[in-house]
Amino acid sequence: MAPSEYELRLRERLGRLRNVPLLGGAKLSGELQRLQRQLDRIAEEPSGDDIWRSVELARHAHRPYTLDYVERLLDDWFELHGDRRRADDGAMVAGLGKLGGRTIVLVGQQKGRDIQERTRRQFGMPYPEGYHKAIRAFELAERHGFPIVSLVDTPGAYPGVAAEQHGQGGAIAASQAAMARLTVPTVACVIGEGGSGGAIAIAFADRVLMQENAIYSVISPEGCAAILWRDAGEAKKAAAAFKPDAAHCLELGVIDGIVPEPAGGAHIDYREAARLLGEALREAFDDLEGVPGDELRRRRRARFRSLGVFA
């Protein structure tokens, strides 16, 4: 019997995935099974409606936030406050905790549940102070040899007058540069909205993961629609055009794996969502185990330097 169209498509995807720089690494040959699992996830090309569903789930008011995962994944959590310069940014959380018995540093954006907390945490949009706090945590991890987990969940960096005056662009660049220098293992996961520069600032990691219904994009669907369609109401069309969903990000080689969520989305079952995330984090760290620090750094830079499509 001739191979089904479905099988042909899978094979083609497999072929393409092998060409993705990181997934094509030497370590992968023995991990066909894992690759197959990822392939199954992207077997069906997400439609515009699927993509929009991800956008809505990624922004769902009940979606678990960074501290919900901290509570369920880490023991002995101790939160660090302040950037040691001028402020403590509520939109960026940093701290120490134990993941599977090992001390790690965790950083992540944090949104709020009620109106007071949302205001205090600026809806998860950090000021430069938030990025300086992240840098401080990265440097602490480097000094003590702690692995770093970074959870990305932000609509974007805060777009305000004070944020600009305090150097928003420079802070985002500095945070990525700090990550580019690390010699400790780093794993980032987009757990909700991976909004633009505000997101990549803490996602320059050895392994970059995305939850099934998270989005990762250069601009919000509304922003893109406002510019290219001159109508923010065309957000759905814009999202379908720039494809911020996890399956497309995996296909483009931007992320290394998709973290499954409970059926219906992470907000349905926090405990199960945390368990699945914890499993993916441990798997990613196991994968990085034993790689010397300078080699980690070299590969991390090479990974990002290979991203882009041109002729």
Partner: protein, 275 residues
């Protein structure tokens, strides 16, 4: 609170466009082409800096005949099959036709006041100087070329940010260019940035902010989020010089503001200091 995040966009024009490209938007003086060219596109009346094209910029900076362009064969692809009201491929073709450039950055070897260096110059006329895969790759190659030849890197930026038609891959050009700068730093080569109007969003949030020395032209908009978007999303009242080079200097984000005709001697001096 609006969820709109317009922090990366390509058509963020802070001032209303002048009626004619040769009319000064500030004092309304009007110039012939050759007058402007001779004045390096600076208004003789009020000192306003008009936009400057990349080739003219290079000619104004380097020793005559010293520039040797690199990576000329790189062209944009359309990884997403992006289509808004028009296909991305059509927008690229149109930009190539109207600018005579392959993309929004030119790189190459050069000498400035007899100091050898690597040069990377952006052109805002090519799709708002937006950074897609080609700009990211060219900048990275400029870093590599500087490392290989053991010379400093000089970059002149002018960009509205990441090129959203390339989707998430355009965002990945931020870490990509930063990785290249870190390699340059490890090789202990100097990196000097000249920010021209406008240097915003993704380019400011990546390599442009990482120079050893940061210079800017007078009146250049240097902001992660442009004034229009800040006003719309936060309804804050903006200071008069919001996001301009002058404000950035006051807040400690720049080393100096340098008028256009003084940029070449300033770079010459810096290159001698680092040399």
């Amino acid at each position: 609170m609006s969820k709109i995040d317009l922090s990366i966009e390509t058509d963020d024009k802070p001032a209303p466009p002048p009626k004619h490209p040769n009319t000064c938007p500030r004092c309304h003086s009007h110039y012939r082409d050759d007058e402007l060219e001779r004045a390096l596109w600076v208004c003789a009346q009020c000192g306003h800096h008009f936009p400057m094209r990349a080739r003219a910029r290079i000619a104004s900076l380097v020793d005559q005949g010293s520039f040797s362009e690199e990576a000329t064969g790189l062209h944009s692809e359309d990884p997403l099959g992006f289509f808004d009201v028009r296909p991305y491929t059509e927008r690229i073709a149109e930009a190539e036709m109207s600018t005579g450039l392959a993309d929004a950055m030119i790189i190459g070897q050069a000498a400035i006041e007899r100091q050898p260096c690597e040069l990377a110059v952006m052109d805002f006329a090519f799709m708002g100087g937006s950074m897609g895969s080609v700009v990211g790759e060219k900048f990275s190659r400029a870093c590599d070329s500087a490392i290989e030849r053991g010379v400093p890197l000089v970059a002149v930026t002018s960009s509205g940010g990441a090129r959203m038609q390339e989707g998430i891959l355009s965002l990945m050009q931020l870490p990509k260019t930063i990785a290249a700068v870190e390699d340059l730093r490890d090789a202990r080569q100097a990196f000097i940035v000249v920010m021209a109007h406008p240097t915003t969003a993704g380019v400011l949030a990546s390599f442009a902010s990482l120079g050893d020395v940061l210079l800017a032209e007078p009146g250049a908009l240097i902001a992660f989020t442009g004034p229009r978007v800040v006003e719309q999303t936060t309804r804050e009242k903006l200071p008069d010089d919001f996001g301009l080079a002058e404000q950035n200097l006051r807040f400690g984000h720049l080393d100096a503001i340098v008028e256009r005709h003084k940029i070449r001697p300033t770079l010459g001096r810096l290159l001698r200091l680092f040399g």
